[in-house]
Symmetry: C2
Subunit: 395 residues, 2 copies
């Protein structure tokens, strides 16, 4: 399965994947998925958005246990983020069937659309629409970089935009378990269980100074917002280390951005995540305080606007502990750990569906990059762990 999927949507020059939602490459990955489900006699159901669940022992009366992940990618992403969860789900079903296991409730294998948000700019788009967190009208008006709306993209893919809305598929999702490659190096065992998804904030810092001549303006006479920004970027890194959190300035805009001009305005976006809402708040406060103090020294000003803040997702403790308990005697045990990345599992959990996640070790911690990797032995341990979890939940 891995070899067949590996070539789909991969740019041969960079090795990176480009599987944006409802693009031909993402549709090719989905076609591969439907073929795999057909070959296993799984009963495939689709909603009006493009989310898929393929059932083993389907039932219209009984809620089932669903596992799976997504097949789309970030721009120039890696092979594992998403597909590992889908392939492992199919492999776990194969394994349980080979053992002669008969589930007492339906087991579903899911593939949810546009999880990365690489085309329409909103992560977990398929699950946000399916749960109703994102209203249909708002979703359909989203535009990709070429200005194509989601409504138009669905039409182009042969899907009626009228079907966009809360998904009937979720009505029979009694439990959801997503297996995913870990995206840092926090997991040192082959397999882990998620405790939570860290709260995540996106903050826009606007540093304002005074444009001036780079050749003639005395250093003492400047009000250079680049200096205030530079100190803030270093402070953010230091404060995140102290707090055991993450802080990143990855996006900048400089005005007028001329080589021979002291800038008038530097706009910088801070991505900050931490283990709890409190720690995130304290992290932002510490960075903002240092920025403000430096601004006073530089004769500049700084304004901070929260563009988006997602509170912590705590996966239900009972389900989490049940998975960890099962895995105590499988794959050498599975440590419980949080993640800094968002997932469809978080959206489903927030919507009240009992949800858990399994992680497979990432030896380098590289993520969202062609260099993203997991060892085959760890991937096989992931399948073994997922099979054991499904067996327990569907017995």
């Amino acid at each position: 399965m891995w070899a067949a999927l590996a070539a789909v949507g991969r740019d041969p020059s960079t090795g990176g994947y480009r599987r944006g939602g409802w693009t031909p490459t993402e549709r090719a990955a989905t076609d591969w998925f439907t073929d795999q489900c057909a070959a296993r006699d799984l009963t495939l159901e689709s909603d009006g958005i493009g989310n898929l669940i393929a059932w083993w022992n389907p039932s219209s009366d009984v809620q089932g246990v669903v596992t799976g992940s997504h097949l789309d990618s970030v721009l120039d992403g890696g092979a594992f983020d998403g597909p590992l969860g889908v392939v492992s789900a199919l492999a776990a079903v194969d394994r349980l069937r080979a053992e002669g296991f008969e589930p007492s409730v339906p087991i579903g294998v899911g593939a949810f659309v546009e999880e990365e948000g690489s085309r329409f700019g909103m992560p977990c788009l398929g699950s946000r629409i399916a749960t109703g967190v994102l209203p249909a009208a708002k979703a359909l008006a989203l535009q990709d970089r070429a200005g194509v709306t989601l409504a138009h993209a669905l039409e182009q893919a042969g899907t009626d935009p009228a079907g966009v809305g809360p998904s009937p598929l979720l009505e029979r999702m009694g439990t959801f378990v997503e297996l995913h490659v870990e995206q840092g190096r926090a997991l040192t065992a082959p397999v882990g269980v998620a405790s939570s998804i860290w709260p995540h904030g996106r903050f826009r810092f606007t540093f304002t100074g005074e444009a001036n001549h780079a050749g003639t303006t005395l250093m003492e006479d400047r009000h250079d917002p680049m200096l205030t920004y530079a100190m803030t970027a270093l402070a953010a890194n230091k404060q995140a280390r102290l707090a055991g959190a993450r802080a990143t300035f990855g996006r900048l805009a400089v005005e007028p951005n001329g080589t021979n001009a002291v800038p008038s305005v530097v706009t910088a976006w801070l991505d900050a995540r931490a283990a709890s809402d409190d720690v995130l708040n304290q992290l932002l406060a510490a960075i903002t305080r240092q920025a403000t103090e430096r601004a006073e020294r530089d004769g500049t000003s700084v304004e901070v606007v929260a563009e988006s803040v997602s509170p912590i997702v705590d996966f239900p403790a009972g389900l989490r502990d049940r998975l960890a308990g099962v895995l105590d005697s499988v794959v050498g045990g599975a440590p419980v750990l949080p993640t800094g990345a968002g997932h469809d599992a978080g959206v489903f959990s927030d919507a009240g569906i009992p949800t858990a996640m399994l992680f497979v070790r990432n030896p380098t911690g590289v993520s969202h990059s062609p260099a993203e990797h997991a060892e085959m032995d760890d991937c096989l341990a992931g399948v073994e762990a997922l099979a054991a979890v499904l067996k327990d939940l569907a017995r």
Copy 2:
């Protein structure tokens, strides 16, 4: 004169001037100049580029004393940078005539085209072409932001591009004196005399790290070139202060410039200027050393490329001291000081024409901005000083 010129090319919303070379606004300023010259019975001569000299007592045999500056502006520039030198030149001629002064050599009032380089990206374009420093073919191929070549812009302005090349106007320029508003706050007297134009380097720093996930990558696992850049920007500022020099990072490009991605590459342009070539070299070495040391800590790399380096322009000491001597008994004396800004006077001096500069005090040091300003009393002192200097040189 000042009131008449004030409205030409000024954006009413920002107060900033936009007089790019060979644009309608810059042509309107030039038309104003030719009218002023005609009203004074000065004999106007033009070369094939658009540089102008208007002669009092013209002669085809004797080299004259030329004063003047430029009428074009940077984007959203101020009222004084350039026009003050042209207006002061005309006012000085008026003053000398009112005194009944009879020059023994011709006195010329010059206006040189596209000094700021705001349209075609090359400062001192008119003087570089006129002196032959910039070959005609290279000049004619320059493009503005809209892709219009200089050749085409000249045609649109009714000028034959075949006339572009070393200017016959300069053959009769025996001495050149440019009066200019000072661009920092270094001048505390009303009027000063230039010693030199500081050497000036433009250096491209490329900081390379590794793109990664802003949410999941441990701070310790990152190779974040933004941190290396940030420390380098602060180091540049500190080193420039220590060296009594200037260092500015005003232009940046970040890859991939996404809020949730640790950047892979940060490219930053350093504008560095110092009192001597040695100090400039030491400044660059100190900044590069600190950048390299920080890159080792960050697990990133840094590459430095000199995009352009202009060595020092030392104005001839004899002429400089003669001006300073004349001004000892005029306007309360004129201190001798260098400047960090480039000027046509530097191009003419490098071409072997005996050249000097007078500066008029800038109380705020703001330059290349609508807020650029000089007090009327200081401007009048500038006219008085220029008149005294012309009287001495043309007696």
